[in-house]
């Protein structure tokens, strides 16, 4: 697996180089078309400058730009414990040095992407719709796929080649536009008519051809690479999870989705696990799509029979797509048999549409920092982050409820306090008359211990009991 990454890096560098040459040659000819012999080098220089500048921007600010564009919100553990757990599992499997930052995109369309220039600094973003639809194994498959992109340095490469592609498209666009407006280049001809008119004309023709062809070439190259990377990430995901069916089911569920992602665009589309933009016409899709066809990816995953190593993915791939090397040879060389494991996910009871709509809504609200309160009467109140009063009287029963704004601000600290109250270790302090509190929901809840000291449960509080720090009484928490 680790040799594979190195082989992958070398290949990436080579392709990146080819695209770079493409840009520089384009710059050279466009420059030449404008200002004759010397212009070529000026053009070269300008193209190089544009490329360096854009690469710098994408290297240093790329992650945050992409995350901002997709409206992804960084979330804490209690918003979705399972997501954090699954990411940590895959972090262990991939032996990643640090835990990636976790973002949730409040969108209904199921999708995910990863960003990060190196494994030491990376982030994974998933949509709320994805979390709502997938079970544990499926989520694991998706996260493993994203983790593979990070491991294989795909993200860095895809952003860089995306920037290159953008520069090429931009340059040819500007050139073609200027040619159009100057009436087929008559301006250039008259300007350089003193000498070398012949050469100039040739340069203009070549530049025109280049300007039309280069973006197409670069685009095809880019798409081919990005598609190959998707297959490779699928293969690596199988290697990490040892469970191809998880990813297959996830992709199946994702492909059944009807929502278009509002926050995705052409520039970021290649990063997602599934193309977030609905195809306008299907005819050219095989050549012009950043992603391999979904049903093909699923069929390959379902065709994996022997084991979970790269060779097994390659064999499944060959049996469906024919002879074509998708895995670098160093990956194939690894012959160790890796067994496919069995499913571990609990058989999920299918939720009613109403229930899943509510859960999805609550997840999006949690992402958007809503506060969840449960009144003792059973009414659930969800307060937006701009709700600033510290008291709210329940519309149903009229009870005054305390709004834990200050506590929410210090939430991370507070949960830590909760967790330190290990009920087992504090056994000797426990008084005989333990106090039972029945939780009404999963949100913030306030009550007072029998000694009168106020207690507050955070949404993340999941202990069965804790000890009152005033009177030492054991307080048992019963679920709703």
């Amino acid at each position: 697996m680790w040799e594979l990454i190195r082989a992958n890096k070398r290949k990436s560098l080579f392709l990146f180089f080819v695209m770079g040459i493409c840009l520089l040659v384009l710059g050279f000819f466009i420059g030449g078309a404008y200002a004759g012999d010397d212009g070529g080098f000026i053009g070269l220089f300008v193209a190089f400058g544009i490329w360096i500048l854009m690469s710098m921007i994408s290297y240093f600010r790329g992650d945050s730009i992409i995350l901002m564009m997709s409206r992804a919100k960084k979330v804490s553990y209690n918003v979705h414990p399972q997501l954090f757990n699954v990411v940590e599992e895959m972090k262990l499997a991939a032996n990643l040095p640090v835990m990636p930052d976790i973002y949730i995109i409040p969108e209904e369309a199921p999708n995910a992407f990863a960003v990060g220039k190196k494994p030491e600094y990376c982030a994974i973003a998933v949509t709320a719709g994805l979390l709502e639809r997938l079970n544990r194994d499926e989520l694991q498959g998706v996260i493993a796929h994203e983790m593979s992109h990070i491991l294989n340095r795909d993200v860095l490469f895809m952003t860089f080649s995306g920037v290159l592609l953008g520069s090429i498209v931009f340059l040819s666009h500007v050139f073609l536009r200027s040619m159009w407006f100057s009436g087929g280049g008559s301006r250039f001809r008259s300007k350089s008519s003193k000498g070398g008119g012949q050469l100039q004309l040739i340069l203009i023709v070549v530049a025109l051809i280049m300007a039309i062809l280069a973006p197409l070439m670069a685009r095809l190259l880019y798409l081919a690479i990005s598609r190959k990377r998707e297959y490779l990430a699928d293969a690596s995901a199988v290697r990490l999870t040892r469970y191809p069916e998880g990813l297959a089911c996830a992709l199946e569920k994702i492909s059944l989705n009807n929502y278009e992602m509002k926050t995705a665009n052409k520039a970021t589309a290649a990063l997602y696990i599934a193309n977030p933009l609905k195809p306008k016409g299907m005819k050219l899709s095989n050549l012009t799509s950043t992603h391999p066809p979904m049903d093909e990816r699923i069929r390959i995953l379902r065709n994996i029979s022997h084991g979970a190593n790269f060779i097994d993915y390659q064999n499944a791939f060959t049996s469906i797509k024919g002879k074509q090397n998708i895995i670098p040879s160093s990956g194939i060389r690894e012959r160790k048999k890796i067994n496919i494991r069995t499913s571990t996910a609990a058989s999920t009871q299918t939720k009613s549409t109403k229930k899943s709509t509510r859960d999805l809504g609550d997840l999006m609200r949690a992402v958007n920092k809503y506060m969840f309160l449960s009144c003792a009467c059973g009414l659930k109140m969800k307060l937006p982050p701009n709700f600033k009063k510290d008291k709210i009287s329940c519309p149903r029963c009229g009870r005054e409820n305390h709004v834990p704004i200050a506590e929410l601000a210090a939430m991370s600290g507070m949960i830590a306090i909760d967790e330190k109250n290990d009920s087992i270790q504090n056994n000797e302090q426990v008084k005989q008359d333990s106090f039972v509190y029945n939780r009404t929901g999963k949100g913030w809840e306030t009550f007072s211990c029998r000694c009168g000291s106020p207690k507050q449960l955070s949404p993340a509080f999941n202990k069965a009991s804790f000890v009152c720090n005033k009177c030492g009484r054991k307080i048992e928490i019963k679920g709703p």
């Binding site: 109403k354 709509t357 509510r358 809503y370 109140m381 969800k382 307060l383 519309p395 149903r396 009229g398």
Partner: protein, 132 residues
């Protein structure tokens, strides 16, 4: 999301028995996101007929409000039963705004609500005495 009537007043979300409404604590109006009404009433033929019967009422002088989601002016819809109720609906279909009591009125006069289950729940949610 802020109340379209009170402005700058954040609406809170209330949930009881899987029924969810956006509620303004100061004017007691209710906002239902697109699709929530269908979720509330179920997709019976009466509901579909009711939703299709919406026609905008341009002549009214009632003050218009802005959609809390897209901030564009909402249109007035006249619902006629034994009384007339004017509700505000976003032209871009983000949802419907009911002033205090309007949703209950509509549920009461159009027989959308099988055995008044939704109405009972709504009254319970907002702490109103259930009319027998």
């Amino acid at each position: 999301m802020d109340c379209p009537v009170c402005k700058n007043e954040p609406m809170i979300v209330l949930e009881l028995n899987e029924v969810e409404i956006d509620y303004c604590l100061s004017c007691k109006g209710i906002w239902l996101d697109a699709g929530e009404l269908e979720l509330l009433l179920g997709s019976s033929t009466e509901t579909v007929e009711f939703l299709n019967s919406f026609t905008s009422d341009d002549i009214t002088k009632e003050k218009t409000h802005k959609c809390p989601i897209c901030n564009k002016k909402m249109e007035k819809i006249l619902v006629i039963g034994n009384r007339k109720v004017r509700i505000d609906k976003c032209k871009y279909n983000h949802g419907i705004w009911f002033d205090s009591g309007e949703l209950e009125d509509i549920l009461g006069m159009r027989k959308l609500d099988n055995k008044n289950k939704v109405l009972t729940l709504l009254n319970d949610m907002l702490g109103k005495k259930i009319k027998e």
